[in-house]
């Protein structure tokens, strides 16, 4: 049964530098990097040494807690460096790409004919399991627990987000193979949400339940959709996969190859001509942004401005990211900035801030915090941008004083850090909401599991 989702509470942050719908090939990166930090809560064990030759899709490291869970090399090439941090913590594995790419052959499969166990072991062996995330805890899915349903959000509402309709165009076959395979892993449904007025390739697929979404951000967040369609209760697990990772899973099934290629958006006000680029997971940031930025001090973000990770030119495109955003740094003082009328920043109040006068204006925001960290004081503003049936401040506070019972009662199983990106944005006390939630989830994962 399809259900249309209309979100009222939220905030569309309109920024300058939206990517134009033109795709170019990014400069091909020489070195690709896998960072275990992208896979939250996984303790990696290396399966290769420096000097090892790999084909695309072959395992670079595996999960210490579950040796079947492999993490694949995005390219074929040679492992040239393994970077470790304190206590020999594995930070990054660098792979020098071959000129001629070779793919490891996982075998062509027909998803329709496969049994659940076969699909599972196929995804684990090929490294594609890493694309399946679960809630609660927002980590890679536990292989032991069957999900009650699977959610795919093919509607991106985050600021400057890559348009899924555009980047998925022509990928119907891959998507179909992937959702058919996934649908066998749950007794429930595979829920796919698309924009209300979209021409998404998902619209014609089988084995899914389609939902049409409208309303401001975070309507595109999968957490918002889960809460509307089939909320998570204690003891239950749901899985989430992003559409572009589905394409990789689909291609694996159809061709037997792990092809880490994806179309990403390069966006943000510091980019000279924002557009889409074809690149691969783990590509060097420099290969994407090099020579394309305005000459000023910039913040390069792998991901969107609300949830992405800061990178520099030596950085890497994150494993799950389909956008690189570049905005100006805001490390400057502002004379009497706390009282003067503000026209060039976004505010949900009208306290001598005037963004409410220009609902369609696109803003050029920088990374300044616009004020200092304070204790929670103001109430009521968070609920305005938070569509879940959860009391955001109370949940944040329960995470801060680490009361597991209260966290559970208030709905901790239902949330991921990204659900608190907007409350963080509007917070006048400049509290790090996403970090608080991440730490709370980690604590629960450790104590309850």
């Amino acid at each position: 049964m399809s259900k249309d989702i209309q979100i009222k509470k939220g905030l569309d942050i309109k920024l300058k530098g939206e990517a134009e719908k033109v795709t170019e090939n990014a400069v091909s990166s020489n070195v690709y990097t896998l960072k275990p930090a992208d896979f939250h809560s996984i303790i990696p064990k290396l399966s290769v040494k420096v000097g090892a030759k790999l084909k695309a899709g072959e395992s670079v490291f595996y999960n210490k807690a579950n040796e079947d869970m492999k993490f694949p090399s995005p390219v074929s090439g040679e492992v040239i460096d393994i970077i470790r941090g304190d206590k020999r913590k594995l930070l990054a594995i660098k792979i020098q790409a071959d000129k001629e790419q070779q793919f490891f052959d996982f075998g062509v499969k027909d998803a329709k004919a496969m049994k659940a166990d076969e699909i599972k072991s196929h995804l684990l062996a090929s490294g594609c399991w890493s694309f399946i995330k679960q809630r609660p805890y927002d980590v890679i899915a536990n292989t032991e627990k069957e999900p009650k349903s699977i959610f795919i959000s093919a509607y991106a509402s985050a600021p400057l987000a890559a348009d899924y309709d555009y980047v998925l165009a022509g990928k119907e076959n891959e998507l179909q193979a992937a959702v058919t395979a996934l649908s066998k892993l749950t007794a429930g449904k595979v829920h796919v949400s698309i924009g209300k007025n979209s021409n998404s390739p998902f619209a014609k697929l089988n084995d899914i339940t389609l939902h049409k979404v409208s309303g401001p951000h975070p309507s595109g967040n999968v957490g918002t959709q889960i809460a509307q369609i089939d909320p998570i209760n204690k003891g239950e697990v749901v899985w989430t996969v992003t559409p572009q990772d589905l394409v990789i899973i689909g291609e694996l099934l159809l061709t037997g190859k792990f092809n880490a290629e994806r179309i990403i958006a390069l966006a943000g006000s510091s980019v000279e001509t924002p557009k889409y680029y074809k690149t691969k997971i783990g590509a060097a940031i420099n290969s994407i942004v090099g020579g394309k930025l305005k000459k000023e001090e910039n913040r390069i973000i792998s991901g969107n401005v609300l949830t992405g990770i800061a990178q520099d030119l030596k950085g890497v495109l994150g494993y799950y990211d389909n956008i690189v955003t570049v905005i100006p740094e805001g490390n400057d003082y502002e004379f009497f900035g706390w009282i003067k009328p503000i026209f060039n920043k976004i505010s949900t109040s009208r306290a001598l801030t005037f963004s409410w006068l220009f609902p369609n204006k696109k803003f050029d925001l920088n990374t300044n915090t616009n004020g200092e960290h304070r204790a929670f004081v103001v109430t009521g503003i968070y609920e305005e941008v938070f569509p879940l049936d959860i009391y955001p401040i109370q949940l944040l506070k329960s995470c801060m004083y680490k009361d597991l019972d209260e966290m559970e009662q208030l709905g901790m199983y239902e949330v991921a850090p990204e659900d608190f990106a907007l409350t963080e944005f509007v917070c006048v006390s400049k509290q790090p909401h996403q970090e608080i939630i991440r730490k709370g989830l980690d604590l629960m994962l450790k104590e309850i599991g």
Binding site: L306, Y333, F336, T353, R374
Partner: protein, 407 residues
């Protein structure tokens, strides 16, 4: 080297030193800091706590200026008699003589409030090594507006010290307090110095000094007068405009109303609290009017005059309007859930009028009503949140039953 660089260099030097938090309070006042985001979202909304607090002070400024004129006006009116038929722009009110009398009374009160209060805040911030939070910006402005004009400065200093230390800092400072600090200060004044504060001498400037002399003037509020069964000399418009005795900032319902519009327009104060407080007060007022109309209480009763006051008049006399707009809406001490705000506000209005009528010793109920509800607001929130928790548990049960029945 410009001012910006100079101040920046001093900050760099102060890192790890004790005086940094005091310096930062000044530095961030002149310049919003050069801090950038480092975890989570990379962009932040334009508002910070300083902006929010400043926007509470902005609507208080006209009220403060009016309060100065009114202090002088009440003094002169008590000596020369109350002029009849005043309009809002009457020259009897807006003249330099009134302003002068009010200013020399009021400015010292403001200075004492800020110097003592901010001094304590900076002291605690320094020993705790955290930033000086902005809470006292507003409290320090509210305090002179909610006390009688003839409050001695030393009493105010003692009360502010008590209010800031016991009302706020012992709980951990701004954001952690249970009681509204400004009302804690006022309550301390009223209960620590009852002989000075109660009665009819503190509300008009100079009334105390003239006490017992042949020139003695009366200086009681409308509520004080009503509690004693006296007749009113003020018209409804006088009350609405604010040409009446009372605490410095509470008298002009007109300006408070404008302030309320500002706070609601800027989305800083909760409309739920304001609206439900007014509803609560009207309901209680109507009940009392009903009691009088039903003849259950006779004219001889000591409650008769206050009960017989029309319900709408309760909204424009005493400190009700000021309390509801500026004190009940303090987000830290009010209920924090939207549903809770409705209950919290309603009870403030309801109890304010009840205390007014039944407690002639302190014929202003709004202060006690707000403090009482401050204490109960966590309880209200607790039950509202329990509703959310129960809904979640119920969902879990339904899910389990469905699985049982249909596999």
């Amino acid at each position: 080297m410009g001012l910006k660089e100079k101040l920046h260099n001093i900050k760099e030097k102060g890192k790890g030193k004790k005086w940094l938090s005091a310096y930062s309070a000044f530095h961030t006042f002149v310049y919003t800091p050069n801090e950038t985001t480092h975890s989570g979202g990379h962009i932040k909304g334009a508002d910070d706590l300083k902006r929010v607090m400043t926007n509470v002070i902005i609507p208080l400024i006209p009220i403060l200026i009016f309060g100065m004129f009114n202090a002088g006006f009440q003094h002169n009116a008590a000596i020369n008699g109350f002029p009849e038929g005043m309009s809002f722009f009457s020259g009897d009110f807006w003249n330099l003589d009134n302003l002068y009398i009010g200013a020399i009374k009021l400015i010292p009160l403001i200075l004492v409030s800020y110097v003592v209060g901010l001094g304590i805040e900076v002291f605690f911030a320094t020993i705790n090594k955290h930033e000086v939070e902005e809470g006292y910006f507003v409290t320090g402005m509210l305090v002179p507006l909610i006390i009688p004009i003839d409050t001695p400065l030393w009493m105010l200093a003692v009360a502010v010290a008590f209010g800031v230390v016991i009302g706020k800092e012992v709980f951990g400072g701004t954001g952690m307090n249970i009681l509204n600090p400004a009302l804690t200060i006022r309550a301390f004044l009223f209960f620590a110095y009852p002989t000075w504060m109660s009665g009819d001498k503190v509300w008009v400037a100079g009334a105390n000094a003239l006490k017992g002399t042949p020139d003695a003037i009366s200086g009681e509020t409308i509520l004080g007068g009503l509690a004693q069964g006296k007749d009113l000399v003020y018209s409804t418009w006088d009350m609405f405009y604010g040409f009446i005795p009372g605490s410095v900032g509470e008298t002009s319902t007109l300006l408070i109303l404008l302030g309320a519009f500002y706070l609601l327009f800027t989305k800083i104060a909760s409309w739920r609290i304001m609206l439900s407080s007014v509803i609560g007060a009207i309901v209680m007022g109507l009940i009392f009017n009903g009691v009088v109309n039903a003849g259950w209480i006779t004219e001889g009763s000591k409650f008769y005059d206050l009960m017989n006051t029309p319900y709408w008049e309760h909204l424009i006399i005493g400190g009700f309007a000021f309390g509801v707009v500026f004190m009940a809406t303090d987000p830290v001490t009010a209920s924090q859930t939207n549903k809770g705000k409705w209950i919290y506000g309603f009870l403030i209005g309801f109890i304010s009028i009840m205390i007014r009528v039944f407690n002639p010793a302190y014929p202003e109920g709004v202060m006690l009503a707000i403090l009482l509800m401050n204490v109960f607001s966590p309880t209200i929130d607790h039950y509202v949140i329990q509703g959310n928790i129960k809904r979640r548990l119920k969902r879990l049960k339904v899910q389990k039953i469905t699985i049982k029945n249909y596999g």
